[in-house]
Assembly symmetry: C2
Homo-oligomer: 360 residues x 2
């Protein structure tokens, strides 16, 4: 077997060790005679797997005791509705910051369920920098403020978590969670689709400060209520058990490899090399202001866009896969999550240099 | 490796061949250098897998061309809200039939979103028979009538699909789909959580007559809109790709093993043997009227309930797993889906006879 280097933005590369562990137990988990995906979610075996996953995640992120961890379904796109349905008070309002396509999607869906306003936008700088929090025009008394700390498509990332005083900060951390240590206590609610740094698609992680969990409102589907999910240990109905198990294996892998501080060091080195290669070339370009560049998603363009297809074809020949940019923006994008080995980034940089030499 | 016989109601046993295929390709699907769970859902490879799964399902169920197939998330419990949010017209109403715990859950959630009435119930017969459709007090002009053709907990099944004239029939077929041929044209909408006869938990199948797909209403989360799911080929956001792939492998397995007619023959033989063993004993009992007995979920009680624990412990020794009844009703339950080999049913029957001989 030859594993390729997979730069897909999500579903994304998983650690090879995790996949090997899963393969080993696929038909017979730890000698019990059945696959994890065949287990009752209420069995002692699966409850043990689920509990261990939560404990490992709590340890990795140092999640404070007054935060609940929920394992849900539906991805960030479901959370775009779930957040306002749960957190908007009667007659209340919420503020959102626009830093790219994913925050815009969150705003558009949020507006369908209440008074949601865009209070700052990176539109004016062409989405090349996060707007300065000192310039945000916040509305007093907001139920929450929503940010997207890492924009998966634009490759734009917050240089720091803004300080909002008492207003609960809600963050879509789908593409940055677990890539570096995080001060969870700065947030009211964090959500993340699993398919970048956590596990396979179909699982959605929610970390919520317990005082923000409110009784279900009339118009909220039970499956979208944080209170219902919390009360039932994320098992109001059958959860996506196999994805939960694989997420747990990823958490174990992270612990074995030094936790989030080690990941941050590695991710900074990987991203630093790649941005360095881009910046040192007149052929490749990344437009993002350096302090706002994503460590996870590195979009870049070629000076001659007519060479895009040749670039992608040559990359595939070297087993460097899925480097095409999002269909909405074009260009190239290298997603270099935790599970992307440094050797993959090195191979990409080598290829970029060779391609430039040949074609520029 | 020794695979046990797993009688869990769901997540449930999967075909061993399917698990072996999945294991074989877990780190490297067909030599492409990555796992299916690492593929972009929009890649040619995954689009091919997704398309093939739908085509195979359409062939297995002979789904008419005017029906759409959607691959969604959230299980039947999400559909309990999704169905009324999509199908109830402004000021309209829907009728529901109560045949057990799952239909009751659907009714309770449906009532939160509109005028939903229970128009028939098996309550009067202690949930031992499906109420005679001739006695249902239907309300004229209902947007739909909702039934649960197989109650997973009670083991109560419809002997035939009721004839409702023009009123669209909506069915929760989570625990019976693919167990026998089905005349899809008799239904307006069918939904099913995957974790019984389709694949792993986290995937939800919806088969809907295309004229019932209406534009999204104001209070419907986009992720719960059939119109949005349909317009985007079930990829409005990242779908649960690995579960979708595994479902596709199950569909291939079904085709290789003779399709749904062969399954029906096998399922009738398996269930026939097991109910026969129960009926021929004074020690075991199943209360359901014979024509309403589920072929998939066979609940039974022991004459002496104090022996329940001993029965389950002895079963585990013979590697007959998860025979305990649902926590809400107690007793025993053997779920014998397509993937339960006939040898498993035979082993259970042998054990039941031995246990009765020893302990009765």
């Amino acid at each position: 077997m030859t594993r390729a280097f997979n730069f897909c933005a999500g579903p994304a590369v998983l650690p090879e060790e995790v996949l090997a562990w899963a393969r080993n137990d696929l038909l017979d988990w730890q000698g019990r005679g059945l696959s994890v995906m065949e287990m009752s979610h209420r069995s002692d075996e699966f409850m043990g797997i689920a509990h261990q996953a939560e404990q490992d995640l709590r340890q990795l992120l140092a999640i404070p005791a007054n935060y609940r961890v929920l394992f849900m379904q539906g991805g960030a796109s479901s959370q775009f509705a779930t957040v306002p349905l749960n957190l908007l008070s009667e007659g209340g309002h919420a503020d959102y910051v626009d830093t790219g396509i994913w925050s815009q999607k969150g705003i558009a869906e949020g507006r369908r369920f209440g008074d949601v306003a865009e209070v700052a936008s990176a539109r004016d700088n062409g989405y090349t920098a996060v707007p300065d929090p000192d310039q945000w025009v916040l509305r007093p008394g907001a139920d929450y403020l929503h940010i997207t700390p890492n924009e998966t498509i634009g490759g734009l990332a917050y240089p720091a978590i803004p300080d909002l005083g008492d207003c609960p900060l809600v963050a879509d951390l789908s593409s940055a969670i677990l890539s570096e240590p995080l001060d969870v206590s700065r947030f009211g609610l964090i959500y993340a689709g699993a398919q970048k740094n956590i596990g396979p698609a179909g699982l959605t992680l929610v970390i919520i400060r317990e005082d923000l969990i409110k009784p279900m409102s009339d118009c909220t589907p039970a499956m979208m209520s944080y209170a219902i999910a919390d009360k039932n240990g994320s098992m109001y109905n059958t959860p996506p058990t196999y994805a939960w198990y694989l997420a747990g294996l990823v958490f174990q892998w992270l612990k074995q490899h030094g936790g989030l501080q080690a990941m941050a060091t590695l991710n900074q080195r990987k991203a630093g090399k790649l941005y360095g290669a881009i910046d040192n070339s007149d052929f490749y370009n990344n437009p993002i202001r350096p302090d706002c560049r994503s460590l996870m998603n590195v979009p870049f363009t070629l000076a001659d866009e007519s060479l895009n297809k040749a670039f992608l074809a040559g990359a595939e020949e070297r087993r460097l896969l899925n480097l095409n940019g999002h269909r909405s923006v074009g260009g190239m994008r290298a997603s270099i999550y935790n599970a992307m080995p440094e050797a993959g980034v090195d191979a990409l940089i080598d290829y970029m240099a060779d391609f430039e030499k040949e074609r520029a």
